[in-house]
């Protein structure tokens, strides 16, 4: 079987459209966890995924979803690879993904820290997070951890509404 660039693009497009199990307004491409899709000479689609967090319980679901969508689209040979390196960073959430998060009331992350381990800082220097509902910068963190590993809980002092915020990592 001769594969063409067009075939690869089609397979990639199908994998890219799979929604994330925990943030279903995002596709796996929006979230930046779909690292690569290639179509080999023998017609096997090899899709590479990376977990957001080590304990992310959705990884198995993501693998199964990508494989199922590709099979439904007629690709009989599908291989899903896990890539651990480089580790996922919230910087990989695409601009479209950030827009969709905000539209769904979830504040998108700021730039992730770079260059290895971050020193412990105990002073209350917090960057401002803008409320995704009313746009107010007057917000406060209520919990560093939330319903999923990748989010924290915040509250807006202006509209009084709680909201989630995708953490920089």
């Amino acid at each position: 079987m001769v594969t063409t660039a067009l075939d690869t693009r089609r397979a990639r497009h199908i994998a890219e459209q799979v929604p994330d199990p925990e943030l279903p307004m995002l596709t796996l491409a929006d979230l930046g966890v779909l690292r690569d899709v290639v179509l080999t000479e023998d017609g096997t689609v090899v899709a590479s995924l990376t977990p957001t967090y080590s304990g992310c319980p959705a990884m198995a679901e993501m693998r199964a979803d990508v494989a199922a969508r590709l099979r439904d689209a007629g690709y009989t040979r599908v291989e899903i690879r896990t890539v651990l390196h480089p580790p996922w960073t919230s910087d990989w959430i695409t601009p479209a993904g950030r827009r969709k998060l905000a539209e769904h009331g979830i504040a998108p992350p700021g730039p992730a820290p770079r260059g290895g381990p971050v020193p412990l800082v105990l002073s209350p220097t917090r960057h401002a997070v803008t409320c995704p509902r009313c746009g107010s910068p007057d917000t406060e963190e209520t919990s560093r951890f939330a319903a999923t590993s990748c989010k924290s809980l915040w509250r807006c002092r202006t509209c009084r509404e709680p909201f989630e915020y995708v953490k920089e990592i």
Binding site: P21, S48, G55, P87, L153
Partner: protein
């Protein structure tokens, strides 16, 4: 309405519950990862390092999970459960790596569920009962600082899988340490009672410092963090009075066996079960 449908979308059009992220489809966490051991790496040593770090994480995760429904506030419960989940994920990756390289081909469940206390290599500090919130947060500060320092070194490990697991863990542990440090400052700098309890917790934890500083030279890094946090909390640095014994040699306190009995009960009652 856009505000409401985040979780509606999740449930939509999935009559069966295979979609739900929890409780289904747990499979090899290293599925599809290149598992070759590079030349020059001693497979036995690599497996030992992976098992020790995985045991620390699994036992800590179990203790953290015990706070669920018992923490002072819902937010703390969510935080402690999330930290436990990160550690559980690290444990799964490390056990899987150990099984690939130690020649047994064992999966993660064989390590977690079918070894007895004598076979566990976690440090004893991880297995001690939770005590009060002060003890749990002080212990979390010490263990997360120690693990973060070790992982930061392991990023340079010649085994690419261990290196990648460490690089990922560094990001997670940074959040764990930050959470614990903020609580220790709040408690130490809080009421007379919270100060007293936190001070006592530091002394209890210090008795187990000895076994933390053997494999990697991370003592100075951990001491610097403790110095910074106790300074901000108005707490004295604890006096180190070492207790004999070493969890890394399989020599545990009486608290590990009951913890494992609970952790392993379902898997041992139904050894052929899959989940």
């Amino acid at each position: 309405m856009s505000d409401d449908h985040v979780y509606m979308t999740l449930a939509e059009g999935h009559e069966d519950d295979t979609r739900w992220a929890y409780g289904t489809g747990f499979e090899d966490p290293l599925h599809g990862v290149d598992t070759t051991v590079p030349e020059g790496v001693d497979a036995g040593e690599l497996a030992d390092v992976c098992v020790a770090l995985a045991d620390d994480a699994l036992v800590s995760a179990q203790r953290l999970a015990e706070w669920t429904t018992r923490a002072p506030e819902l937010e703390e419960e969510v935080a402690l459960a999330n930290i436990g989940l990160d550690l559980l994920g690290q444990a799964r990756l490390l056990y899987s790596r150990a099984g690939q390289v130690d020649g047994t081909g064992r999966g993660e469940d064989a390590y977690a569920y079918f070894r007895d206390a004598d076979d566990f290599r976690n440090v004893r500090l991880a297995e001690l009962p939770n005590g009060d919130f002060a003890f749990s947060t002080v212990r979390l500060l010490v263990l997360s600082s120690w693990r973060l320092a070790q992982f930061a070194h392991l990023v340079a490990h010649p085994d690419p899988v261990l290196s990648a697991i460490a690089a990922k863990g560094v990001k997670e542990l940074t959040y764990h340490r930050q959470y614990a440090a903020e609580w220790v400052v709040r408690l130490g700098d809080g009421t007379a009672e919270s100060h007293r309890r936190t001070r006592k917790a530091l002394e209890q934890v210090a008795a187990y410092f000895g076994e933390l500083f053997t494999a990697y030279d991370v003592r100075d890094e951990v001491a610097a963090v403790l110095c910074q946090v106790t300074g901000a909390a108005g707490l004295p640095m604890p006096v180190y009075r070492p207790l004999p014994g070493a969890g890394r040699a399989g020599d545990h306190t009486e608290h590990l066996a009951p913890l494992l009995a609970e952790l392993q009960s379902v898997a041992r009652a139904h050894p052929e079960a899959t989940w």
